[in-house]
């Protein structure tokens, strides 16, 4: 890759690349390649520089040009093969590597890369032969020892695997790959406990070895001791601050542990050091998602898609990001592309379920049912119901499956009701998918006889646990949301499965679910056809809202002092659809001086505010009359309702908890009811509080309703003054009453399963 040609950008570009500044090298090398300097070496080095920057798509034409210009050179073909491999195109990659070897049979990296592809596709013998050949050519290369160790492990040749891994670590004590292989080989040879003792003994003799800390982390992780594994990774990272792979491993470990803030800088550094690692980018996207930096997430995914091609995992996350930015149509389009991808599988179908309910035109009840049925078809029919004693009146064991058993919408809308469920009749057992430690989580713990943290277990293990626990009724509180477990529901771990709060958007389409807990507002007579589940209607609302004990007092109507009405919507942007924006524009146009305040976590990011501003303008919302505010802690969010006169609910995906909170803070909500379950949440809560006249049936009615209510401030002020007391007295918050209804509904579902009473 070095050349004697000396003129123009070519020597400077080469020097920049050699000096570790690929970004500076790129324009110089482009210039050189265009000028024909350096022969084929200019495009080749341009390709290398672009690869180092992770700009794989741009590197391809440069490398192809190099291959044409340097027909006897193996390197361009080898690099093209590497890129194909990163993009998941195994067959093309293999062809490129063969081409490289045809040009230079002694090209060690091509031999190693080809061996890796052969290993992945199960051609172990061929891979071993190739690595043996490569080691003869370059006996000092530790990466070949790593490959040899990995292959030996696959062949269960543990002495060789251990010897090769040890050889690498002797030379490079911070080699994470070799350390992991050593750990796995010891684990298989000696069992978990002895392997750990072995590694600890080695570490005692060599306390500054980073590799041994990685090995210990591997063993602790395999045994499910994640905090300890993370701790060993921390030690490894401190012992080897310059080892990119170890820093990456720690970044991933921290991301897994939900410690995004600590993980982010490590992951960013790791991506810079290893631009070809798709998993690192995807995991950083997840970290950004969890910290509500959706625009940064989208940017990172789009860059990854350009480099790595439209791989399903990237598309699915892109769909979620677009949706969270309120770009529902684009989101669904990308989700459909993931479904259409040959490798999309069940995950892509479930991902579509997370996006579809928000779509303003296509997210209707029948479409949700059809999309849910598509998931069911891919998952296969539900398993047979487990045997449980068919005694209609006995005490029942009720399982709760959720990642939201704490301060989470699931908690606010189910906890009070579950607490009111009579202990003597119902034993509750929690299957928590996400550990939480807030006070509401404490209340769930106080009500549940057994608590199981199962987030790290697969569907089969959780189902087996439920069978052993003897669950009679399973309440699903996750749906198709983040961390939901539709696959577990299809395993039918309990005779009666009921869908309740938690991404309760519409039918899940699963035959593993028996019932949907609902009410007469969510699903009036005639709606049964939209559901694969049977409808278990409670006499009043389908949820019981637990008002926050320390909510600030209701503030006086702000319009009285401000002289103008302030509308507000504190829902997430995914719900803020173009038709909602259109309606809001008409309302603002008709109410002189009125303002609109949008407040949600995603708006804390400047890039997202810019995107949203552009969309507001496109829908005719004047920029100076709309405030975009980021998320704030819960108390402050409630206090912010003190500045809102009327809440405008989005559609078709309506507010749920947001409606309850607005009402509790004295703010009435104008809503529009659609036909899907999630399009009727607001209707259920408003009707259950005696405010059905705040719900419109059409967009035009919605606009007219908001305008009419905004014109009568005395009436609005009077309603506001009494609203909290009204909500507190309404069935929405009447926990004892809800507890009785829920108990009766669960008993009814159970009796149905028990079958008709046998005459004595």
């Amino acid at each position: 890759m070095r050349s004697a040609t000396e003129s123009g950008g070519w020597p400077a570009g080469l020097a920049a690349l050699a000096g570790g500044a690929p970004a500076a090298a790129v324009p110089l090398l482009e210039e050189a390649a265009a000028a024909g300097e350096g022969g084929g070496l200019a495009p080749l080095n341009l390709g290398l520089a672009l690869m180092q920057l992770g700009r794989l798509a741009e590197a391809v034409p440069a490398l192809e040009a190099a291959a044409r210009a340097l027909p006897g050179h193996a390197e361009p073909a080898f690099r093209l093969g590497t890129i194909a491999g990163l993009r998941g195109e195994a067959a093309q990659a293999e062809a490129h590597f063969h081409a490289a070897l045809a040009r230079d049979p002694r090209h060690v990296p091509a031999l190693a890369a080809l061996a890796a592809l052969e290993e992945e596709s199960g051609r172990i013998e061929a891979a071993v032969a190739r690595i043996t050949c490569a080691r003869l050519l370059d006996p000092a290369e530790p990466e070949l020892d790593v490959a040899a160790a990995r292959l030996a492990l696959r062949l269960d040749d543990l002495p060789t695997a251990i010897a090769r891994a040890e050889a690498v670590l002797a030379q490079r004590p911070a080699h994470a790959g070799a350390a992991r292989l050593l750990a796995r080989a010891l684990l298989r040879r000696d069992g978990a406990e002895a392997a750990l003792v072995d590694v600890a003994t080695r570490a005692a003799a060599d306390p500054t070895s980073a590799g041994l800390a990685v090995a210990a982390a591997e063993l602790h992780g395999a045994a499910g001791r994640y905090p300890t594994a993370l701790a060993e990774l921390r030690v490894a990272a401190m012992l080897a601050p310059d080892a990119a792979e170890i820093q990456a491993a720690l970044g991933l470990g921290l991301a897994d542990a939900g410690r995004g803030q600590e993980a982010e800088p490590l992951l960013r550094a790791a991506i810079a050091a290893r631009p070809g690692d798709l998993d690192l980018r995807n995991r950083l996207a997840t970290v950004l998602w969890k910290s509500h930096r959706v625009s940064a997430m989208l940017e990172m995914l789009e860059e990854a898609i350009r480099a790595f091609g439209p791989q399903p995992i990237l598309l699915m996350n892109q769909a979620l990001a677009l949706n969270a930015l309120g770009e529902q149509a684009a989101a669904l389009e990308v989700a459909e592309a993931a479904v259409a991808h040959p490798a999309g599988g069940t995950q892509a179908l479930m991902n579509r379920m997370a996006v579809l309910p928000y779509h303003p035109e296509r997210g209707h009840a029948a479409a949700l049912l059809a999309a849910g049925r598509a998931v069911a078809a891919r998952l296969g029919p539900a398993a047979a119901s487990p045997a449980r004693p068919r005694d209609p009146d006995r005490r029942l064991r009720v399982g709760l499956l959720s990642g939201g058993l704490g301060q989470h919408p699931v908690g606010w809308l189910t906890l009070a009701g579950l607490e009111a469920l009579p202990e003597a009749e119902f034993d509750l057992i929690a299957y928590s998918l996400k550990p939480r430690s807030d006070t509401m989580a404490g209340r769930f713990r106080a009500r549940c006889a057994v608590w199981r943290e199962v987030g790290a277990l697969d569907d089969a293990s959780v189902a087996a646990m439920m069978a052993v626990d003897g669950i009679d009724i399973l309440l699903d509180l996750g749906g198709y949301g983040d961390g939901g477990r539709p696959g577990l529901l299809q395993r039918k771990p309990a005779p009666v499965a009921i869908k309740w709060v938690g991404m309760q958007t519409g039918s899940m389409g699963l035959d593993g679910l028996d019932w949907m807990l609902t009410d007469h507002w969510e699903t009036p007579a005639g709606f049964d056809a939209f559901y694969a589940e049977r409808l278990l209607r409670l006499p009043e609302g389908y949820v019981c809202y637990l008002p926050p004990a320390a909510a600030p007092p209701v503030a006086p109507l702000p319009a009285l002092t401000r002289g103008h009405v302030t509308f507000g919507c504190f829902n997430n942007l995914a719900k803020v659809t173009p038709p909602s924006l259109r309606a809001w524009a008409r309302i603002l146009a008709a109410v002189p001086g009125a303002r609109l305040a949008l407040r949600t976590h995603a708006l804390g990011e400047a890039a997202t505010r810019d995107r949203v501003r552009a969309r507001l303008a496109a829908h005719g919302l004047p920029e100076d009359r709309v405030a975009l505010e980021g998320g704030v802690p819960h108390q402050a969010l409630l206090a912010a309702y003190g500045g809102i006169d009327i809440a405008l609910d989005p559609f078709p995906y309506a507010g749920g908890l947001t409606v309850c909170e607005a009402l509790w803070m004295g703010v009435p909500v104008v809503a529009l009811a659609g036909d899907s379950f999630c399009a009727r949440h607001a209707l259920s809560h408003l009707a259950n509080t005696g405010l059905p006249d705040w719900v419109a049936a059409t967009e035009a009615d919605y606009v007219a309703l908001a305008i009419e209510r905004a014109r009568d401030l005395p009436r609005l002020a009077a309603l506001r003054a009494g609203l909290r007391a009204r909500v507190a007295a309404a069935p929405l918050c009447d926990a004892p009453r809800f507890g009785r209804s829920l108990a009766a509904a669960l008993r009814h579902a159970w009796r149905e399963w028990c079958g008709p009473a046998t005459p004595v």
Binding site: A203, A204, P207, T208, A213, A216, P227, T228, L230, A231, E232, R234, V235, M238, L239, E423, A424, T439, M440, G442, R443, R445, A446, R447, C448, A449, W451, P548, A549, A550
Partner: protein, 470 residues
């Protein structure tokens, strides 16, 4: 590289411990230990305390203290460890050393007072807390602890006033709501205790202690069914408490074959300060019934013609049986109880030749001893299955020796059952079978009312037996 590495490891370990992430600090502490870092022992002690590996924590704290004499921070650390282990005297010693080394330090004073309080040295605790509080009147933790000290010392009015003030000033002080409710309960105001506990729950406070006080307050008002779910909630929130687990099991009808030792000890430690007054108020008759059984069955002793002893008083409590028998005794009187606080009150009566804090079956297993009289007043009601205990009693009776005990009576055929009160009741036919199997013969088995419970009285049995063949 080694010197800065040691510092970085120690700093990171320290930061993790500060965030309560002891498990993640352990591998760093391993390396620090091997690299001979001086701070490693203290950090390890702190980590082990967080992980509740208390024995290792104390060993590490000992090692950290080995090189120094007056490091207040290390003495406070060991005081916290010893408190967690229930070694209150040692904790008080460490805390006192820390206070002497750093007299102005509130944390040290608070620890010292806590240790003294656990030791039952209420007046000293009150003095230290009062001093500390005057120096730092805004400190809610001090105020709460002072209120607790008044409560333990039986000064209910002062306790209620202080705790109410503390809750008003700093409503988020951990444990304050439960303490207030508990103070009301100890002042015999169960409705007020209930009101306070319910208000705390309505404010969203989630503590096992609040549920526990509420449950006890409901039991005090005779509302056992309502208490059940709160005992269950308390037990779930405090999974390490055998006391609450037993009460939860009792209230839900889930059976264990005896009450756990911790339960009995906790129960009676809590009763001790006003045990006798409340029992006498409840018309407690068992010591007197035992005395009369002895008079009937050992007339020579009653007439002063024969001496009585040695005597073993199982579950002696505050020593009421000793009082009832005191003028008949002519040999050693040994008292056994699980509750240290009860034993302290028994000791104050100067009637017992020895008092032991132990499980009664452990004492009965000790070979060699032989007693002329074994008494068990209101003790077997904390056992379900009586077979083993009665067989052991039989082994410890001297020739001609007498066993006298009370039971709560269950209906015939019920065997034994755990009632919602947390006590067991036994059926007469079950008792007869146990006696026979143990090689004992009943001399008397009288139906007696043991004491009042609200308007009703607790039906019981007073049993006197001797070994078959005597």
């Amino acid at each position: 590289m080694t010197a800065p590495l040691v510092d970085r490891l120690a700093n990171q370990a320290h930061a993790l411990l500060r965030d309560g992430r002891a498990e993640e600090a352990l591998p760093m502490l391993d390396r620090l230990g091997r690299l001979g870092a001086p701070a490693s022992a203290a950090l390890r002690a702190e980590a082990m305390l967080q992980l509740l590996r208390l024995e290792e924590a104390e060993t590490a704290a000992d090692a950290a203290l080995a090189g120094t004499t007056d490091d207040a921070r290390l003495h406070r650390l060991r005081a916290r460890i010893r408190l967690a282990r229930g070694h209150h005297a040692g904790a008080a010693e460490d805390a006192a050393t820390a206070v002497m080394a750093a007299p102005g330090d509130t944390a040290g004073r608070l620890l010292l007072a806590t240790a003294l309080l656990e030791e039952g040295r209420h007046d000293e605790a009150i003095w230290f807390l009062g001093e500390a509080w005057r120096a730092d009147p805004g400190n809610a933790a001090l105020q709460a602890r002072l209120g607790q000290a008044f409560m333990r010392a039986g000064r209910h009015e002062a306790a209620a006033e202080l705790l109410a003030h503390c809750e008003q000033q700093a409503p988020s002080t951990p444990g304050i709501a439960a303490l207030r409710a508990q103070a009301a309960l100890l002042a015999d105001d169960a409705p007020e205790a209930e009101r306070l506990a319910r208000a705390a729950l309505a404010r969203g406070i989630v503590e096992g202690a609040v549920h526990s006080v509420l449950a006890h307050a409901l039991v005090s008002q005779g509302r056992l069914a309502e208490a059940g779910p709160h005992f269950a909630a308390a037990a779930r929130l405090s999974p390490a408490s055998h006391y609450l687990a037993h009460l939860a099991a009792a209230s839900s009808g889930t059976t264990q074959d005896r009450a756990p030792e911790d339960y009995v000890a906790t129960l009676f430690d809590g009763y001790a300060p006003h045990f006798e007054t409340s029992l006498l108020g409840l018309g407690y008759r068992v010591p007197g019934l035992i005395r009369r059984a002895v008079e009937r069955l050992l007339p020579a002793v009653a007439a002063g013609r024969a001496s009585l002893g040695p005597v073993l008083d199982l579950g002696c409590g505050t020593g009421l049986a000793g009082v009832a028998l005191s003028d008949l005794l002519h040999g050693p009187l040994t008292g056994v109880d699980l509750s240290r606080r009860m034993l302290e009150q028994a000791a104050a009566k100067h009637l017992y030749t020895s008092l032991r804090q132990a499980d009664l079956t452990a004492v009965l297993r000790e070979e060699g001893a032989a007693y002329a009289l074994i008494t068990a007043a209101d003790v077997f009601c904390y056992l379900g299955d009586l077979n083993e205990t009665l067989a052991l009693c039989r082994q410890r009776l001297a020739p001609g020796g007498l066993l006298v005990f009370s039971l709560e009576r269950a209906e015939a055929g019920a065997g034994w059952r755990l009632g919602p009160s947390g006590r067991y009741a036994h059926a007469p036919d079950y008792l007869a079978a146990c006696l026979k199997a143990a090689g004992l013969q009943a001399l008397e088995c009288r139906e007696e009312a043991l004491r009042r419970d609200g308007e009703a009285s607790i039906p019981g049995l007073l049993v006197a037996a001797h070994a078959i063949g005597h």
